[in-house]
């Protein structure tokens, strides 16, 4: 059960990594590469400075998840050990 979860977390992880690779490279960033402004700030600048903290949040989310799973595993193995 938990192994399955660990696997799906790992898969989501890889997907996010690939997404990240795509989202900071051509041609994806070409979408924002124009003269449009938002709050007088070029949209490409906004894209990077909003996407960046978002990606950091994703990393943090994953690490929390891993911490959580490790704790559960420890609990499980402890439970097994005492029984």
């Amino acid at each position: 059960m938990s192994k399955q979860r660990a696997n799906s977390t790992r898969e989501a992880w890889v997907v996010c990594l690939i997404l990240g690779m795509i989202m900071i490279n051509f041609p994806f960033i070409h979408i924002f590469n124009n003269d449009r402004m938002l709050f007088d700030i070029p949209i490409l600048v906004l894209y990077f400075f909003i996407g960046w903290p978002a990606s950091i949040w994703v990393t943090r989310f994953f690490m929390k998840k891993i911490d959580q799973m490790e704790e559960e595993n420890e609990d499980n193995s402890e439970g097994r050990g005492s029984s």
């Binding site: 700030i41 070029p42 960046w52 949040w57 990393t59 943090r60 690490m63």
Partner: protein, 1071 residues
Amino acid sequence: MISAKIVLIVSLVYFAFLFFVAYYADYRRQQGRSLLANSYIYSLSIAVYCTSWTFYGSVGRAATSGLEFLPVYIGPTLIAFTWWFLLRKIIRISKQQNIVSIADFLSSRYDRSAILGAIVTLFAIFGIMPYIALQLKAIAFTLDLVSTPLDPVLGFHSFAPKLPPYVDTAFIVTLVLGLFGVLFGARHLDSSERHEGLVTAVALESLVKLVAFLAVGIFVTYGMFDGFSDIFQRFFEQFPERRDLFRLGTQQTPYTKWFTLIVLSMMAIMLLPRQFHIMVIENSDEEHIKKAMWRFPAYLFLINLFVIPIAIGGLILNGGDSSQADYFVLTIPLSAGHPWLAMLVFIGGFSASAGMVMVSSVTISTMILNHLIMPIILKMKLEADNYAGILINIKRLGIVGVVFLGYLYFKIIGDSYALVNMGLISFMAATQFAPSFIGGLYWRRANRKAATIGLSLGFFMWFYTLLIPSFVRSGWIDSDILQNGPYGITLLRPLELFGLQGFDIYTHSLFWSLFFNLASYLALSFFLKQSETERIQATKFVDAYGRKVKPTQLKRISKAPTIMEFVELMSKFIGEKPAHQAISNYLGDREIDARGSLADHEIPNLKSYTERTLAGYVGAAPARIILENYLSTRGSKMEDVFDIFGSVTISHAASREQLSVLYEASQIVSRGTDLQKTLDDILGLLAQQFKFDLCVIRFLDEENMTLVVKSQRGMSSEHFGQSERNLNMDTYIGQAFLSNVTSVINDTDFLDKASSAQIIHREGITSFAHAPIIVEGEPVGVLSAFSRVVKGIFTDEFVALFENLAGQVGIAWRNDKQLQELLKVREQEYEMQIAKDIQMGLLPTNIPEMEEIALAGLCVPAHQIGGDYYDFIRRDNSIAYDLIIADVSGHNIASALIMAEARTFIHSQVEGLENPADMVFALNRFFFKNLECSELFITMFYLQYRPLEHKLTYTNAGHNSPLVWRVDEQRLDKLDAEGLIFGIKKDVEFEQKSTQLQAEDLLLLYTDGIIEAENNQGEFFGIERLGKLLQESEAMTPQEIIDKILDQVRIFTGLRHFNDDITLVVMKILR
């Protein structure tokens, strides 16, 4: 502007504070309350990545090239995402292998190659020079910017006019930073020990530079302007033509360059020597990675948040002039009249530079010491009593030397490049490590030659496509080479190599250097083979998470050095105190024998421990050379003693030696001679190959429930090897047998079973094991081995082999048991054959020719012994012929005996009992007594033919009705009479009937084997078919009729053999 004196005082106070923090950290560490247990310090220390290149250069780059400054920080953010897998593995390996630098890492991975270590070191020096130059340039320049020199002409010399003219600001800064490096990084020699003071100081500096940068960012954005939107708005109003700064895919920043910068920075964050040092060597807890994975990117984000506002703010304030953009961070607060903010910025910038220079110089000088100096010292075989003092001083000298190399670079080339471009040259150099490094982590086949050649080619291309153009730009080399290529070969132009045009210098260089690097690395790894030792090293790296591979007891050292000699050797290189410390750590958990020396098998362990300890100070490759040289000068040699052990222990798959022992054992078993000899031979093999003092095989004696010695090899002892063992959990052998699990004691000093311990200690056993001999899941005995000499003989792998041997013994035992059973069966069969012969002998074999009748009979038993019986008795003067057919249930000896009894009875009583009914009556009474207790029963048909009267009299005891074919009348009759089978009731009235027969008439007697013969459709042969056959055979002789019936029955069933006994008797009346 601030007075130079104040700048100096503030700087000195800051230095003092840093030192205080560093010493405090070291103090805490000695107290055992390490500051590095705090994961914030780890995350912050990684930010040594942000040097003055970030601090000043980002703004400069943003002002001139726009978004191009970003990928250098986005790349690390992306790769940080993989750290939990990638970085953790690297850390795990480095801790296991006592690795001290990236050069050490690569050298260790590839067969501890000294050459590879030297190559990596050389290129790390070349690669780091521009980067250090960049830091010196930044500090020197900002120092001059922020302070008002007392004399504008003399500048720095106004403080100390007696200094020679080449001593400028940068020179002083170089000296100071060199001193910093020595004080923080080279107080001890042991590089595998963490430099807590250094790391804490670096973490503090990271905090200071972030605070300083954020302060100036907020000041510019919100103090001088009205927030982000305001700055952008005013910028676009003033410089509408500079919109391209915030776009990509432009002339200035093409997408390829963007991509190149991301790749470069992704590699650099992991592979720059200083990053490797901080992230891997100085890591104190793997768990810290988890936090650093997002905190470090968050740091990068924060420090870049105000880069664009400061850059365009500076442009607005300077009327669009970007020539001094590298120092906007400092000049804006200065010109705005905030000298204290400028001072803070200066301290921040100094922190950024100093942190990088300190860590880099310590790292590089460690590499120089371990991979350049040590091999030379060792080669020259310098005689010295104590290398430790020399080595630490070489290291200190190395640190200062590295910083001064940067100074030289700065003086010669520095001015021609903006900060960021100098940084990228270093990044590109670090990227060349990537193929060998990452390949080495995951690809087992990657080998030493491939890494050496790949790296060399990569660095050559780096030098050619990146460094040469920078030399040209600084005027060192004639620019002709860029335009026309070397010697006029245009194909070799450094910026358009092999005609590759249209890319910026970094993309071009990245492509060609990685192309040659990666291609040769992959191809050579694929085609060249690894040596044995290389493969072992590779496995340690690739399988870092797997089972810990311990090549213990591989070898024995002849003329082994004593412990003290090892200590002396270590003291030479690392100093006396650390050497004694190391040896007491080692001995702490080990047994030393009465003579104060280690057991033979411990010496190789001590040797490898010494090697690892030395590796912590001087690197893996030199440590190996030191030990090898030392041993060879002593005339000591590593000998293969426990060679089988060694290979078994090392290899994951079964090694050849292991297989050969098992193979030999299986040969012994399959020879299948006497069990005793097989067991003796297996024990002989075990004792001989592994030098056991005693090997015993015991089997379970099921009657007494004890384990009885079946075979024994080695020392003989009445109480030990030969005695029986009771089955209980109080002994190790009993435990092994009862729990069906091998019990292993590698050191008999630690025994928990008192009854066993007594015997074992008396016999001087140091280690032993009992493996249950298991046959079909059940234990049948125990294989035991004892050693008096060697502790720790039973490694996991060896226990596996041992269990396998026990399994082989089990097979031998089972084979033997099966053989015995087979013999028993054969014996029974032989007896049955005799019984059958006797039985057949009881049947009338040759029937005499008679005038009145012709007769033939046949009995075919389905099994060895049949239960059918027929007989023929000629009474005196041929007055009457008695015909008997009987069927005893069962086909065993008992039925045969009953049959024999019946025959004896009939033959003995035939004179007295004239007619069938009397005979059958008597038989019934006789059998009732005998059959009562057995489960058998008998059917019988008794006939008597009197030829003179042509009269057939008959009585039936439950048997099948005989058939009569009356030729004249062409009629088939079934003969039957009332009667019960024998053995049911004591007194039974048997009906006696009679009938007349004529010449040519046929009488057929049979047992149910005929009519119940079954074909594959489940049909019985039946009476009808039998009668019809008889009818058709009226012209035949009785023997012919029998043969014909048998043939037909066989055809009917399709079988050659019958399932039941078949008996046929045919009588033909002749006249």
